[in-house]
Subunit: 337 residues, 4 copies
């Protein structure tokens, strides 16, 4: 098939390449000409375009325009594309849009007889090799039409052992892509996927932090009225080797996972992770997941805590902490250390 890939940064370029290798034609576009030229040279795209209009011109109808741009730029990009499109063209948003924006956009584009598909994509920098897990929302016939592309981008059924009890021809879910429902359903599932990801990451991070501090009994502690003594220092005399422990858990344990594999790799390279400072970004989906939980009225203690831990890593609790110190000073005359 033919497809225009708009946004050929790391992720978009890898996706393009995976398609090109399979014989699909991919016209690539980025805002800087050098990026486009680099991708052509790497063979990641079939041809480069000099403008959005140029992308459109190089494709035959019905055109498929796959966007891999920041969530904040999607509306602008669509607005710029729209004058050049024809009825029945298809826009796929493969980035991290909020699913509610998908619902809105699909409705607006429908007036122009343009189809819209949202495709949440997981796989990160490993996708070129591992394939991409695709969570798709949109109209049945359009999603079906794009099937060859989704199938090629997906990891394929051999990427994991078959679930006991699944028989017959593997479903698309078993191949790593799924039409989740109407407009927005793809990004909704991707949103929750990332919300879960935050929770999983935080679970490992907190647990490893407990292991890291298992030697706290070896350290000297103050004895004063404001800080309770470590109750049993003899119980905290362990110097744990986190690189070995995470490696250990990769085999046979209940907590084995891909995120654990990555942690084992990172800790092997740098046991103290001294190359990181611990300011953790969040890219929106974690926030949206918690908001969705609240809208639905379902509890999300863990997912929220994972999100807030990131905020705190960026010092956003500072004023709250000052309030606490101020109260302590007010009622007890406690001075901070």
């Amino acid at each position: 098939m033919e497809l225009g890939m708009i946004g050929i940064g790391r992720m978009g370029a890898n996706m393009a390449q995976r398609l090109v290798r399979d014989g699909h034609k991919v016209v690539g576009y980025a805002r800087t000409a050098k990026t486009v030229q680099d991708r052509v040279n790497e063979g990641a795209i079939t041809s480069g375009a000099t403008s959005l209009e140029d992308v459109v011109k190089q494709l035959s109808e019905p055109r498929i325009l796959w966007l891999m741009v920041p969530a904040a730029s999607v509306d602008d990009t669509i607005a710029q594309l729209l004058p050049h499109l024809s009825p029945n063209d298809i826009i796929v948003d493969g980035g991290n849009s909020h699913y509610q924006d998908d619902i809105r956009r699909a409705e607006e584009l429908k007036k122009h007889q343009i189809h819209y598909v949202d495709c949440g994509t997981s796989g990160g920098v490993w996708g070129l090799e591992r394939g991409y897990c695709e969570m798709i929302g949109g109209e049945d016939e359009i999603v079906a039409y794009l099937d060859p592309i989704f199938k090629r981008l997906a990891p394929g059924v051999e990427a994991a052992g078959r679930t006991e009890g699944r028989t017959g021809e593997p479903t698309t879910a078993e191949q790593g892509y799924l039409h989740c429902g109407p407009h927005g359903a793809g990004h909704f599932v991707k949103m929750v996927h990332n919300g879960i990801e935050y929770g999983l990451m935080a679970a490992y991070a907190e647990g490893l932090n407990v292991l890291r501090h298992a030697n706290i009994g070896k350290k000297q502690h103050l004895v004063d009225a404001e800080t309770a003594p470590v109750q049993n220092p003899e119980h905290y005399q362990y110097d744990m080797n986190l690189a070995d422990i995470t490696e250990l858990w990769r085999r046979g344990s209940v907590v084995s996972s891909w995120l654990l594999d990555l942690s084992a790799h990172a800790l092997m390279q740098s046991p103290d992770l001294s190359n990181f400072n611990g300011r953790v970004a969040d890219s929106g989906e974690g926030r949206w997941t918690v908001k969705a939980a609240i809208d639905e009225g379902v509890p999300a203690h863990v997912l929220s805590a994972a999100l807030y831990d990131r905020f705190e890593s960026r010092n956003e609790a500072e004023f709250a902490n000052k309030i606490l110190s101020a109260m302590r000073f007010e009622f007890g005359g406690h001075h901070e250390r």
Copy 2:
């Protein structure tokens, strides 16, 4: 009555003074002679002692020894006192001991026919004026014997409006002191009191932090693939006056409390709380409360979160955050800012 006050720092001295004003005899002791002399000069104690033995000698039997020393020093202090005591003497631990230590100590002292009473005390630096809320554990007859002292230290019934439906002679609870149960019950109640205190403080702190950042829409934000844009900056254009708002809530609102009174005072003096750095200490009871909840198998989401926020204010999540950054780098090539 006569009483030895061991530990006459700020809190012990104020308590002594409250008793002295009422005609009780208080022999005071501190490790530094100057402190003892200062307290005598201030009239906070009836007389000073030069040693624990000296305290004991100045009291008539059965002696009452009231300890106001750091939790970590209680066992030592008792061990030093013990050789000088006689059967039927009474030790009151008025500090912040773990209630399980009370149970142990009471058992040990019983072998020497010494009585032990645990008395959790709330009131901070305001107690001299407001009186102390006392949560008491121990044997019935001993607690009854000490009643005049507890009553005098307590705020008294007039410190709050009478609860509708309470009639007759005010109970001791209504006067601000209560025999909560056997050994350890006093400090157990005090422990939970402080656990709740942490939760209340955190609720105000988090809420005020939300108000503080209500102008975030005025600030410039990055548009990139890793950080979601502020969704609706037009909704966050408020510059809130926290000193006024906390003052406002003191009257007629559901969140009025003594902690709010203190917050209003602190924020009036320094709207940015720039005199604080936000490293918040914790003195043990918050930890013990959460552990008790876990032992009991009851959920304590809020009390735990309040405790952990304090740990985080002291940067104890740093390694956990580095784990998160390392994972993000591993799967997505994300670099920290």
Copy 3:
């Protein structure tokens, strides 16, 4: 002044009455004629109206229409009122609207030259007696114009001791009402107020639950491979009297508050609270507070946990729990009890 009170349920009627007692003229309206008649008979309102149009007709210009209706009905009510209003009339939303709706409404009404004021109101059923804490958003001159009404509804400066360091003529904040900022600022502050309220309530509830289970060591526990034994049953032998303990804390303790006063009253009446089933409603502001925290990127562990505890009290975690049980069965063959 003259004012139309639209919505004269419990809260609206009490507010009306507080104004009527002070000589203001209040025209009251409710959807059921009987309610209107009852309020007239009680003297809560000066006169009753048979329709929204009738309310408008009974008032002189510029009219003040104070809405005390469910948040979901505010837009409808305004739409019905609008045809009967004249330029410079003022609509006050005294209910629990989302502040973002205030921003939108103010903008829409401005086109009709109608002024809009949002007034978050705390005080519950006690407001008639205690006065209402009012958090106000809107244009300076309009809020100033309404000052006599706000002042009369507020508790007044004598409702709390003056904050040390505040001097001169008491500010409106000290009287219990505050112009917090432009449109929406009032409900924003009220929103966070309620968010904090949820947190405070949860802190007390969790702590009292820990006290309630302090006798867990007295109960028999299973010894099997799946449930850890209570580690130290001898430490959990206390039968705590919660009515006494909450009463105790009202005087001299750090956790004294109005919510504690109410808890002491409830527990005195029914120590087991057997008249309640524990399904806890939430009326929106707690949700909005958490969403605002997320938009702002500030942590809100405690406020969120308090909110989720309410969702859980209504069994909304059921499916999540089934997932946990299913996983446990899958990896360990664990059967539920």
Copy 4:
């Protein structure tokens, strides 16, 4: 080697079998004679014993006694074994003991010249096939002596792809077993492992619950003063297929893990999980992990929340919720539904 397996329930029997298959001699014991006979018949053990004394008699010195009994029975079992043991015999606790009990036991047994090794074991009912991940604490030479047993029980290096950058002879960690440190270190690591497991499970459970309720906008909601309306029902119209979604995520996504594999299997079998009631047990390690975090002063928001969610699934928040309802009734006259 020769080894006595004390406790041959599901897990002990499978471990025995894995050793027997490799040519080790395993004497098995259980309290009920029938279990012993069954295991002999199955070939899971080399021979059965009629008593603890009989186990000891059938082994040559230095004996290896491997305990697979409930944590609460370990001390009793050791006490019964002790009279029959000889210096240099080795007791391995392969169950879920608290690591602090390991420290105590090792010290006590040392007086009898008996060696003690703690071995936290993960693998559940799958271990026979997948192998067991072993986390080991104890003396260097003793752990080295037992190496053939640990190695045989472990999954082996081929159970996971090799971590990039690891070269040379695979370490024991890479084979799935690790000597983590001195006495207690094994169970400490296992404890944190399970703490993390709780967190991971909760992250999936909460996220899947959000997906499950993505159709909430289709349901009718009340419009009243106490419950905020669902703000945007049009955003929650999705009927998600959780069996497909969990299957989907197994390939190429960031959240792939063994726990996800199990979830996909469970949901395929029963999309509504109607065979579960959602009362989730907890077996101690989650509690101990949180307590360790508190002792160390490191935050554990997520691990705690996961633990409390289990308590709540068993209705342990009931009284706390009643407190909330009581407060709401007190300040607002709110009646529960």
